[in-house]
Amino acid sequence: MGVREAAFMHGLKLILRNALRHKLRTALTVVGLLVAVLAYGLLQTVVDAWYAGAQAASNARLVTRNAISLVFSLPVSYEARIRGVDGVTRVARSSWFGGIYQEPKNFFPQFAISDNYLDLYPEFVLPESQRQAYLRDRKGCLVGRQLANQFGFKVGDVLPIRGTIYPGTWEFVIRGIFDGADSTKVTRLMLFHWDYLNESVKKTAARRAEQVGVYIVGISDPENAASISRAIDAVFKNSLAETLTETEQAFQLGFVAMSNEIIAAIRIVSYVVILIIMAVMANTMAMSARERTTEYATLKALGFGPGFITLLIFGESVAICVVGGGLGLLATPPAAAMFKTLTGGVFPIFEVSPLTLGLQAACAVTVGIMAAVVPAFRASSVRIVEGLRAIG
């Protein structure tokens, strides 16, 4: 074993024992790191979950909406004209209902849809018998499995929804429960007959009848999404209600983008948490290094170089951060699962991504390195005579 290896091995021993010297201080620091890295991971996962819906959306479907704003609808007469555009295979109606089930915090999306809607959504799997039952019942509705599980809905249940856009309490009968084709599909929503909505509106507010929120457009080839979109919008150019057509994915991202400020805030908070723990860690290391000034000066007197001192301090800082960060990393997936349950399906897809885990590890190591820079520089460059004087 050479000089460097022997010193290095003993350096590791010193690092370990120094780290365990103030057990309470180290334990508290480790807990702080655990919490910070965990919080960072959960916040990143919230951001991911936010975008997950859009990522799951399809490029093979287009969404045609009113060009002015989503708030405005389109005449039902557009349906046939959209169907006439080259490359369009199917056109379905979808109107946002925006009702409340029992209380506002139970929020879930409800859409009034045309009967061919489900043909455009092969990712929603519904038994044929239930589909038939739904089609037969004017007041029938369909709920997704995630929604059914959250509230314990069963087929045959009556589902009262208080309208906010469309006044009154609406009673629907659950005729079917559809599953997601795979675990990434969000099925926390409710669907019912657009015809039923339209007939009711006709009686109460005739001006708002014969309107569609958005058209879902099936196309033969996703490659042509852009040109078909342009063709559809061209049809309604200079009409009373011009349209804006984009892929469902782009539509969803636009929807998510409305919350961009919130997402940015969450991102910033996640890094603020890391900055705080970095300051705490730097303080801990500075305190430890200052207490050991005499020891470092003694080592230098004995002939150990500044590199050895630097190794001791960086090693200790990184070791503590790896342990704290590692525990935080391990705690993240179970904590995420708990978070998902506690938030009751607001985030149907809430999974810690490998990227998040990687970022957590990187943050922990970065904290360890950054926290040691100043103390290591100070300790390794202290003049021996000054350091020896520092004795208490």
Partner: protein, 229 residues
């Protein structure tokens, strides 16, 4: 034989505020190989400063300082560190052991810079432990040892690399009379049996009497040298 330490026109001053405080002024003297010198003098007379210069942990402002024939005033920081590792054994007033290392590991520390194998290091450490009479305490941490025992560990650490000189700044300053007596007897043995050159700073005339020669420093100037009979 050539003196092991040759000091020529050595000067050192400190800057305090804007003021320059001279500490050592034009100091010239030799220390013979195998000598045991006690440096005495009032507080603030520059004893520690001189010892630090000889040990190569501080730099003079002027003059030359040869130890074992090498002018250490011209060495770089890194060269000086290497030089210290091979040539200087340190004994401090407060022992300066690593609290997280056992007696054995503390003594082994300087050997990590020598390239000896693990088994060779073990052999050396055990011999040093036997020399200071602490074989049965080698697994103890400093906090589990008395002051006198800690200083004996420090002495073992100081001699482990067989250095050219041993420097000791108030080695008994923190010890009771009996422990101090032990340490002085041990240093005496290092000098007579192992023929170590020792330079010791002390306030204690009783300790100084153990040395072969006493040098008095006053305001940075040697006032009298006193050879013992």
């Amino acid at each position: 034989m050539r003196p092991v330490v040759e000091i020529r026109n050595l000067t050192k001053s400190y800057r305090r505020g804007g003021e320059i405080v001279p500490v050592l002024q034009d100091l010239t003297f030799d220390i013979a190989d195998g000598d045991f010198v006690a440096l005495m003098g009032p507080s603030g007379s520059g004893k520690s400063t001189l010892l630090n210069l000889i040990a190569g942990i501080d730099k003079p402002d002027g003059g030359t300082l040869l130890v074992g024939g090498i002018d250490i005033t011209v060495l770089s920081e890194a060269e000086l560190a290497d030089w210290r590792a091979r040539n200087v054994g340190f004994i401090f007033q407060f022992y300066n052991l690593m609290p997280v290392l056992t007696a054995f590991e503390n003594i082994e520390l300087p050997l990590l810079l020598t390239g000896l194998s693990g088994s060779e290091r073990k052999e050396h450490v055990e011999a040093a432990l036997a020399m200071v009479g602490l074989t049965d305490r080698m697994e103890h941490y400093p906090s589990q040892l008395s002051g006198g025992q800690q200083q004996r560990v420090a002495i073992a650490r100081a001699i482990i690399t067989d250095p050219t000189i041993l420097v000791a700044d108030e080695p008994t300053g923190d010890l009771d009379r009996a422990s101090a007596e032990d340490i002085l007897a041990l240093m005496d043995r290092l000098n007579t049996e192992l023929e170590k050159t020792i330079i010791m700073v002390t306030h204690d005339p009783y300790a100084a009497r153990r040395a072969r020669a006493i040098r008095h420093l006053e305001k940075g100037v040697l006032t009298r040298g006193q050879e013992k009979t």
